[in-house]
């Protein structure tokens, strides 16, 4: 059966497989620069998206090498079968790690939309912090230089927490500022 499939498939597609510089149907390594500096801390327990989807230490070099795309395959199987074992059920409890992962993966989009004062990613970050969207976007723009002083997700997260806490209004209403 496998032989039949091999012949059938080889006939139809060998050329186009080997000719295209990338095959979008496969998980190709992505972002080869790989400088997602804090990536190797992600899987280390805690709760949230990261711990749900990225778990095993052995898989981490692969994730660092292939970033977004590589979070698949055997990482997935172990994560999905063990489920969110160390995760409290409600999404409201996802906090620090989720915020860090979100900022790491989206930093370039966030910095742009923060400076622009609106956008999908900045709205999503507002939600990750549990802040009202409009006010959060405004704060991101007015405090842009203080918050995005470095291109370093952990620093950006720290700066956000600091600025939100020192904002009279937001400090009272944001739900997930720890």
């Amino acid at each position: 059966m496998k032989l039949k499939k091999l012949i059938q498939n080889s006939l139809i597609g060998f050329v186009f497989m080997s000719t295209f510089y990338s095959n979008s149907w496969a998980e190709n390594p992505f972002a080869k620069k790989g400088d997602y500096k804090d990536m190797d801390q992600w899987g280390m327990g805690g709760c949230g998206l990261a711990s749900l989807f990225i778990k095993e230490k052995d898989m981490l070099p692969q994730i660092a090498a292939s970033f977004v795309n590589g979070i698949s395959g055997s990482t997935q199987s172990s994560a999905i079968t063990t489920g969110s074992s160390n995760c409290v059920a409600s999404r409201n409890d996802l906090a620090a790690k989720e915020q860090e992962v979100f900022i790491t993966v989206n930093l370039s989009s966030l910095s742009k939309e923060a400076a622009q004062g609106s956008g999908d990613h900045i709205s999503a970050l507002a939600e990750v912090f549990g802040c009202p969207n409009e006010q959060f976007a405004k704060l991101s723009q007015t405090k842009y230089q203080q918050i995005y002083s470095q291109n370093e997700p952990t620093v950006v997260l720290k700066n956000y927490l600091k600025e939100v806490k020192s904002d009279q209004n937001l400090s009272k209403i944001c739900l997930r500022i720890i």
Partner: protein, 627 residues
């Protein structure tokens, strides 16, 4: 304790026998839902009942992969087994490991929880509670301007979170993806393994924003989301199936058992009254699967579009005045000296528009995602961002005009055409053409790109009625044409690749000889009148071999023009001039063609062609059918 458990399991055994008898009388294993949970697809023209799942541990009976009946009985038996006293570390009770089939059987057989031990599955329930999706979309990632390979696309499912303000948190949703797990070091066998099923295809659930970064920003591909009409119960089934699939794998074949085909199988498992997998032919091309889904009545409820960074850049540029356009050009050519620019007659709103366009340009050029820093434009980007924030102008929302019509409006990928024609000297012929995939620039570009063509195994047979002869006229093993449209400040290269066989390749005796060839060329394309008109020229290197003439090499110049006369009418003119040299002599070749296409409906086109090859003119009228 010991007695207790014996008593319980004794009682269960009889009840299980009852259940098996009930299932047997109902022939439950013949129901579509059961087969779909086991991932048995409908195969085109085949009654073979075989699951897609490759891992043996997924099946509870030895021949479960091919035998839904044995698998159902083995499942019922295993669901009543008791937990071992010292379970292995990764032990999971069959009820917890296979919840999709368990809950389906519970419903079908009305399994009584007083007579049957329902196991506690805390891991599973945390997983399900965490997911708790309220909607599902099928997402298609579209082509990129200069990447014909991406024309085939990729599909995955967006899983909408249960949230009140869903519009704001779209990118906080999750996705379910099926993909080959390819090791970082691919090795020489990479293409072979991909075709022969040497890699494991696995499901993964991950945040949507990761795919948005990957497709929209890194690869600059638009995303089209097709919201599906699924009930809460069907979505719950989907979640359970995803859990079952998480621990197993499917041999990944690039051509048929690929991401898109398995997505169809997954949707059938969630909603068994869907008929999707049987509608793909031998191979499954992602854009075809989108059309299969959209043609299912009442299944797609809404279509949304998520622009790539290149599309965002084009949209930002589209609203600029001529003056603002010049400013963008100045900003970008002046790597890191924003402050030295003289923004005369440009207020803070004008500046915001200029900066917004420039930022998208930089993000596109640098493939900027995550915390990666730009390399060429690092200083400039920082300065732009600070200047932008200081002006405190809120960005106007993007118009988000798609650069192309949605993929489901495109023609199907297979082509069959019949042309009837005559040479000017009166010889009558017909051409029969078959091409499994995908698109050429003569065809209707609805759902495709205006200047991208990919064709493989394109075969044209000619029946020559005068000489009562049928012969192979052309065979393009692979042909790619990439004529990307002009984008301000970005220069895309036009290129053409073609390899195959042709009958007649030059004046004189070469006109009645065949040859194998390989052509590769680069050039430029010029679009005008809102991309309704296109001129291109490509210079090619051509190597070939013919039995009589031998190996040869030479240059080819390809000139062309394309004009869209209306939304259903298109004219393409091409002229190709070549010289073929070998050690003994050289042969000239010339081919001109004029092609008028009329697009009747999505999958039917008529063509009127006038060609002149090596001085012999012919005219033909044809019908193209896509399937």
């Amino acid at each position: 304790m010991f007695l207790d458990s014996k008593k319980v399991s004794g009682k269960n055994l009889t009840y299980t026998d009852e259940l098996i008898a009930d299932a047997t009388s109902k022939k439950l294993w013949e129901t579509r839902a059961w087969k779909k949970i086991l991932f048995i697809p409908d195969r085109f023209l085949s009654l073979n009942q075989k699951s897609l799942i490759s891992e043996k541990s997924f099946f509870l009976s030895v021949d479960g992969k091919n035998n839904p009946e044995h698998e159902l009985i083995a499942s019922l038996n295993s669901f009543q087994e008791s937990i071992p006293i010292n379970p292995p570390k990764d032990y999971m009770h069959p009820q917890c490991k296979h919840p999709a089939r368990f809950y389906w059987l519970v419903n079908e057989l009305k399994i009584d929880d007083k007579k049957f031990v329902f196991q506690k599955c805390p891991e599973l329930h945390k997983f399900i509670d965490y997911l708790d999706y309220e909607g599902v979309s099928l997402v298609f990632s579209n082509y990129i301007a200069d990447g014909p390979g991406s024309l085939f696309g990729h599909t995955f499912l967006r899983l909408h979170r249960n949230t009140n303000n869903s519009s704001e948190s779209a990118i906080l949703d999750d996705i379910a993806n099926f993909s080959a797990f390819v090791p970082a070091i691919k090795g020489l066998l990479y293409p072979i393994k991909g075709l022969a099923g040497g890699y494991q295809g696995r499901f993964s659930v991950m945040p949507y924003y990761q795919k948005i970064q990957e497709y929209n920003n890194y690869e600059s591909r638009d995303l089209w989301e097709y919201k599906l009409n699924l009930t809460k119960n069907e979505i719950r089934m989907l979640e359970l199936v995803l859990w079952e699939m998480g621990s197993t794998y499917i041999d990944y074949y690039y051509l048929d058992d690929n991401c898109s085909y398995v997505m169809l199988a997954l949707l059938e498992a969630a909603k068994p009254d869907l008929y999707l997998t049987g509608k793909t032919l031998i191979y499954a091309i992602p854009s075809d699967t989108i059309r299969i889904v959209t043609k299912t009545p009442n299944f797609v409820t809404n279509i949304t579009y998520r622009p790539s960074v290149l599309s965002r850049y084009l949209n930002r540029m589209a609203v600029l005045s001529k003056n603002e356009n010049n400013f963008v050009e100045q900003v970008l050519s002046n790597y890191d000296s924003l402050s030295s620019l003289d923004f005369k007659n440009c207020d803070k709103f004008c500046k915001a528009r200029v900066i917004d366009a420039s930022l998208e340009y930089i993000d596109y050029k640098e493939k900027l995602v995550g915390s990666n820093e730009p390399i060429i434009y690092q200083n400039l980007r920082n300065k732009l961002l600070i200047a932008r924030a200081n002006d405190a102008v809120k960005s106007e929302p993007l118009k988000n005009d798609p650069q192309s019509s949605p993929p489901h409006l495109g023609h199907d990928s297979g082509l069959l055409s019949l042309n009837l024609g005559s040479s000017f000297s009166g010889d009558v012929f017909s051409d029969i053409r078959f091409r499994p995939a995908l698109h050429d620039i003569e065809a209707n570009e609805n759902g495709y790109s205006n200047g991208l063509g990919v064709g493989f195994l394109d075969t044209i047979l000619r029946a020559d009625y005068k000489n009562s002869l049928i012969y192979l006229k052309n065979f393009h093993l692979l042909e790619i044409t990439s004529l990307p449209e002009q984008v301000p400040n970005i220069d895309f290269l036009a290129w053409h690749f073609d390899t195959g066989y042709e009958y007649g390749f030059g004046y004189g005796d070469a006109a009645s000889q065949g040859r194998e060839y390989l052509k590769l060329g680069i050039g430029s394309a010029l679009f005008g009148f809102q991309n309704q008109f296109l001129l291109f020229s490509i210079v090619e290197a051509d190597v070939g071999y013919s039995k009589d003439f031998g190996a040869h090499i030479g240059p080819t110049v390809l000139l062309g023009a394309m004009a869209k006369l209306s939304h259903s009418c298109k004219i393409v003119a091409k002229s190709e001039l070549s010289k073929r040299f070998n050690k003994d002599r050289n042969i000239d070749a010339m081919e001109n063609s004029l092609n008028l296409s009329y697009f009747m409906v999505q999958n039917f086109e008529t063509q009127l062609s006038l060609t002149n090859k090596e001085g012999v003119s012919e005219v033909s009228l044809g019908l193209r059918i896509y399937f």
